[in-house]
Symmetry: C3
Subunit: 152 residues, 3 copies
């Protein structure tokens, strides 16, 4: 078990099976020393735990939990192309939150993903980030998160 998985295990978490892409792309690609991970939805066993817009059908607290699941699915996608312990930096995280028109708490939602990445990768998990609101996302997911990482 990788150090990353041991850290998650200590929190009672496991790296899930990778989510098969919903269309014509790969979960992750590694080239030179850069890993590009596709936007991950918070699917659990192939199902979305919730659908709709944050600030409307979905509460910020629910969305934070969904972003955590995106974080776990990002780690699963990373694991398809690299040894998790070879990652020297989670460099950039991009968070998209399907938002009711007056919902401005995207950063707190995406913290769900950022915190899981910090817990899993320690100092290598400290990243730059953008978080934005969007009107609607694939499959009506409330949250989608992607990332760029570097390996050693």
């Amino acid at each position: 078990m990788s150090t990353v998985e041991e850290r998650l295990s200590a929190l009672g978490l496991t790296v899930p099976q990778v989510v098969p892409p919903v269309a014509d792309y790969q979960p992750a690609v590694v080239v030179d020393k850069v890993v590009y991970v596709s936007g991950q939805l918070p699917l659990v066993g192939g199902e979305l735990p919730a659908e709709g817009k944050v600030g409307a059908e979905v509460t910020p607290e629910q969305a934070y939990e969904l972003a955590k699941q995106c974080g776990l699915n990002l780690i699963a996608a990373l694991k398809t192309v690299v040894d998790l312990d070879s990652i020297v930096r989670i460099a950039k995280v991009g968070g998209f939150v399907a938002s009711a028109p007056d919902f401005t708490g995207q950063p707190q939602v995406i913290n769900g993903a950022s915190e899981i990445l910090g817990q899993a990768f320690g100092e290598a998990g400290v990243h730059a980030r953008s978080a934005v609101g969007v009107p609607v996302l694939p499959l009506n997911t409330p949250v989608e998160v992607d990332l760029i990482a570097h390996i050693g």
Copy 2:
């Protein structure tokens, strides 16, 4: 003619003239071995074939065709800064779909771009991707797609 252009030619496609940027930036930038390509609209000869939101004024099928044109324009932009055959990987594609509030088929739309890239670059065209809905895009385009590639 590059191998990439030969592959497109076999499909009856040609790499168009690069679309001049609509504002203060470059179509593509290469630094170290990474190529960053600006968001491409599906302009054909300077005109948008369609305008508006997918799921409203624009059908998903039309939008898929527009995303194909974005793919061709991405290849044209790549060609302004690198030899197309020097590209070892289309690493990450970012797709933005101007969406009616209940349209959740962004992945199928952006497949138009992903498939063209796969056809043009073969194994080097297999990429990571994010696709999201947005309310509105520059010039009222229904689709915008950008990418990051690596050269050898």
Copy 3:
């Protein structure tokens, strides 16, 4: 004073204090020779000069000025992790504009950031870019801009 700061000084501009992240991430991360900068809001002294959507509560001209401030805040964030004069290229800029449903002038808004980067970095400031509309952004900011740069 770096050459970058001297150029800004000649325009009567100074690099502001970095904006503390509004959530669980860093303003910028450098890994290998790539610098990833987090999405910057146009905060001045901790305050947003304007809130709301461009094309509604905020005019395009105001938004252009706000994007300039995002540009300055991006430079401040870069300065937290690298010598500004070590930057060989501002490679990719990503601009998000909170937009009224019929506002399609995102490129002209994001030019505010692009122009500041061009003035500060000269030829190294010429970049690829994507600009998109979004319905709402963190803290109700009208504009958010991030970037990727490379150092020598």
